[in-house]
Each structure stands twice: as C-alpha cells, then as structure tokens.
Amino acid sequence: MKQFQYTKAASQQAVLEAIAKPGTKIIAGGTNLVDHMKHGLIAPDKLVDITHLPLKAITPTKSGMHIGTLALNSVLSENALVLQKQPLLSMALKAGASPQLRNMATVGGNMMQRTRCTYFYDTTMPCNKREPGTGCGAMEGYNRMHAIFGASPQCIAVHPSDMCVALAALDAQVIITGKKGEKRMPFIDFHRLPDDHPELDNHLAKDEMILGVEIPENNFAKNSYYLKVRDRASYAFALVSVAVGLDMSGGNIRSARLAMGGVAHKPWRLYDAEKFLAGKPATEDNFKQAAQLAMQGAKAYQYNAFKLKLAPAAITEALKHASGIV
C-alpha cells in the first residue's frame, strides 16, 4: 500500500476543505476503502478520518426518521426505532456482510461501497470502471454475478449493498453537504447506471459529503420482507435480493414498494410491479403477474441467464412472506 497522510477532521467544514483537494479521501469504517488500497485499486495521498464527528444519531423527525451517515450498520440494524418503524431496513442490514464488518461499516460508507465485480478487482484485467477506456472483462467473461437490468456496453457490474436496496424501496432521501450548502436527493437517484461513465458509481460530487438519510413515515412495518438469495446461507453477496414493503388492509394491498439488489448498477426499483399491485388482493397469482411485469426489459449474459428465472421467483416469494400468505 502506498504511504499516505492521515488526519482527523476537526469539523464538517474541515472535511469539505480537505476533500476539495485532489488525492484526498474520507475514511470512516474503512472496510471497502482499505480493501481497495490493499488491492492497489486506489492510492490516495491523504485520508481524512471523520469517525469522531457527531453524525451517528438515529432520531425520529416530524415526518419519519433521520439516520446519521456515521451510524454503524450493526447499531442501525438493532435500533429500537428502526425495528419498530422500518423493519425492512433492519432485515436488509442483517443480510449484509458479517457481524464484524457491520460493527465497522457506516451508512455513508455502505452507500459509497463499490462493485465486487472480479474484473474490477483484478488489476491485470480490463475494466472501464477502474480504468475508463480499457474495456469490460465481464462482458465476455465469467459474468455469473452480473447485471440483468440497466447495464451498458461499457459495464455490467452490480451494486453490492443490501442496505441500499431497502432504502431505495422505502423512498429514503439522502442529505448531502458541499460548498454550496446542504441539499437533498431521493435515495433512488443517488446511485447511477453505468451508461458511458461506469467509473462514476453515484451522483455525489468529489467535494461533497453525505450527512445522512431520512426515511419518511409509512405503513409498511407489518408487511415487510427482505429476501436474499446467495451461494451460501450467510456472508455472501446477493445473486438476487428483493426488498418488499406492503401497506395492507385486510387481504388487500393499498400500496407496494419493491426493489431488487444484485441485478443492476444501482438498487433497482420495480415501479411497474408496484403499480400493478396497488389496490389488488394479496394472492400468489397477482404476485406472479407482478413479478413478470418486473422482469420486462431484463437482459442476461452468458453465465447469468439463471437470474431471469431466479429473480421473478424471488419477487413472488418475497411478496408471499411480506403479505403473510405463506
């Protein structure tokens, strides 16, 4: 690992001043950043430690809850307010990583984590995300873990987070600060599709930092489910994951929120399926139809065609669990 300077930021303002300079990165949990530095994927000149800043709190607000960017994934997953109001978020967090990693990883860091595409990690292979213009090793390679939605000829990598899939489903907002002050962005717009710039994972500018996320009040708590399908029972990235939040009245669905992980460069909202389910009774048949609608536009590569069958089956299964019909 290349030598670098390490400083602790005295304030939020100091962080912004530091990251405005090239070669400077924020470090919090470090679980992804230090890994990248060991792999030689990045070599910052300077790291700014923000772990001591007062951005950890998980607090109720007038319209929902605010989660500070430095809230640990483990703390957030067991927070009483989260368990009561947004159990989907807790389920997704517990499905991610390992207890040790969740004790280190922060909310902001989880959002900023990069793809686990093996061609991105292997510096001997071409990768447009790591080195724009070199090509995509995965396109013609062993692309079993890769995208079936929203990919581009430049990149077919997927975003690895579970937490982000839940936050996308829950209509969360991201609070960001920069030189021009604070701004808000819908969580679903935070991450981007690869298009012609797969080197960019999200819309956070280099001189901006995440302050936290807000989840608006909802009626999904009783009928939420996070289903993660992976190669081993725990501690593996998703082949496919589904986050479901249903607002139900008797056996009917008033409104639905659905998002998938492991299928795209960002958490993938299933808007067509949501629209279809609104106002319908919770039946397996309706769930299967919703799943078919969700799969429109899916495209597989040589080794991930199984996802075209796995994904709709996972959507149906997750809806059954969330609605309580299993």
């Binding site: 690992m1 300077q5 470090i27 470090g30 890994d35 483990s74 390992s98 207890p99 280190m104 029972a233």
Partner: protein
C-alpha cells in the same frame, strides 16, 4: 511484553517501504535543512540524521490500550491494526488469513466490539481499548470459551481459532447465541477451512448454557 517500537532489524518486505517517497523525503528534508541552517544540517546529513528525519515524517503517534496495557507507539498510517499487533508488538495470536476482510481470522475486540483488524488502520485505534486472544485468559486460567473449544475440539489446524474464539465471545455478549441457527448466522464471518463448525457451535452453546461470565 517487549515493546518493539523500534525493531532492531529493518523491515524489508516490499510493501512496507516506498523507496521513491523515502528518497524524496530525505532529499527535500535535506534541501530545507540546508536552506535554513547550512552548516549544522550538512553535518547532520553526513551523519545520516536525515534518515531519522524521514522516519519522523512517515510515522504518527498512537496511544492505545491493548489487553489492559497502555502503549505509546509510533506507527505508519498505512499499518493495519493487525500488522501493528503482530509485527510491532509481537502479539502473534491474532492471525493473518486473507488480509482482505473475508475470513475473520484477524478478529479482535475494539472498545468491546468485534472488528476485523486487517481492515482497521492502526492510527484509527488511537485512544481505544483493544482485546486480542492473548487478553482473554486470566493468567494461567483460560477463558471459558477457550476451555470449551479444547473440550469440544472446536478446531483442527487451529489457524482460524483465535478469530473464532474472539467472535464467539462477542456472539454471546451481543445476545446472538440463543439457538444453533442464530449462532451459525452470527459466526458466519469466521471461515474454518477444516470444517470444525459443528464443534465450534457445540462449544459456544455449552458456554452460553453454562452461564459463566464471558
């Protein structure tokens, strides 16, 4: 424990030193020194004091309590807590497995919480309390989890064992050892290549059911 803050042998591993930067620092320090106070600095350079100046640029002070003992060290920012424990403090109980946060062999407790020391920068442990496998036993008396691993054969080659035990202790303290399923889920961050999992689960269940303080 001998403090190896200044190891007698230079570390020659390729990833530890960056010759170009060191060279740059030496030269720039020398140039600055020459510009400021020519004569003494040149004498210093001739006596290779610039080497020490370069060292000072690259290392940072770190105060950390490890297994109940306070340490005041000088560390490179890029040194992980794992390397610090093993290479600088000779606490080799904590194992380097994958060194990439995937196997759990390097699990230690920082301020009471289990973390991966291979992904923790040593400088970020400043002011914190670290417990390693060496810190579990009370003198000659093994920790109940260590006893249980011995009794239940919770290992074969033993390489993952320190991490397994640190994780197992945390698993019970966190309240995540209430069933075999829950233990398996909350021990999933510790990989055992020998496949001693059933025995590890038995060891944890016995300690949990025994009700001894962990």
């Amino acid at each position: 424990m001998e403090n190896k803050n200044n190891p007698p042998e230079p570390d020659t591993r390729p990833d530890v030193k960056d010759p170009s930067r060191r060279d740059f620092l030496k030269k720039s320090a020398l140039i600055t020194a020459v510009a400021l106070t020519p004569a003494p600095a040149v004498v210093a350079a001739e006596k290779h004091m610039d080497e020490r100046l370069a060292e000072a640029f690259e290392k940072m002070p770190l105060s950390v309590e490890i297994n109940g003992k306070a340490h005041n060290l000088m560390v490179e920012p890029r040194s992980t807590l794992l390397d610090l424990l093993r290479e600088q403090l000779d606490l080799t109980g904590t194992k380097k497995g994958c060194d990439l946060g995937q196997c759990g062999a390097c699990t230690v407790h920082v301020d009471g919480h289990r973390v991966l020391s291979c992904l923790t920068l040593g400088v970020m442990a400043n002011g914190k309390k670290v417990t390693t496998i060496e810190g579990l036993a009370k003198g000659e008396q093994l920790h109940p989890m260590q006893e249980a691993f011995l009794k239940h054969d919770g290992f074969q080659c033993g390489y993952c064992t320190p991490g397994q035990i640190m994780s197992a202790v945390a698993c019970i303290r966190e309240g995540h050892a209430n069933s075999e399923m829950e233990i398996r889920e909350y021990m999933s961050g510790n990989i055992c290549r020998c496949g001693a999992y059933p025995n590890i689960v038995n060891a944890i269940q016995e300690v949990k059911e025994g009700g001894l303080p962990v």
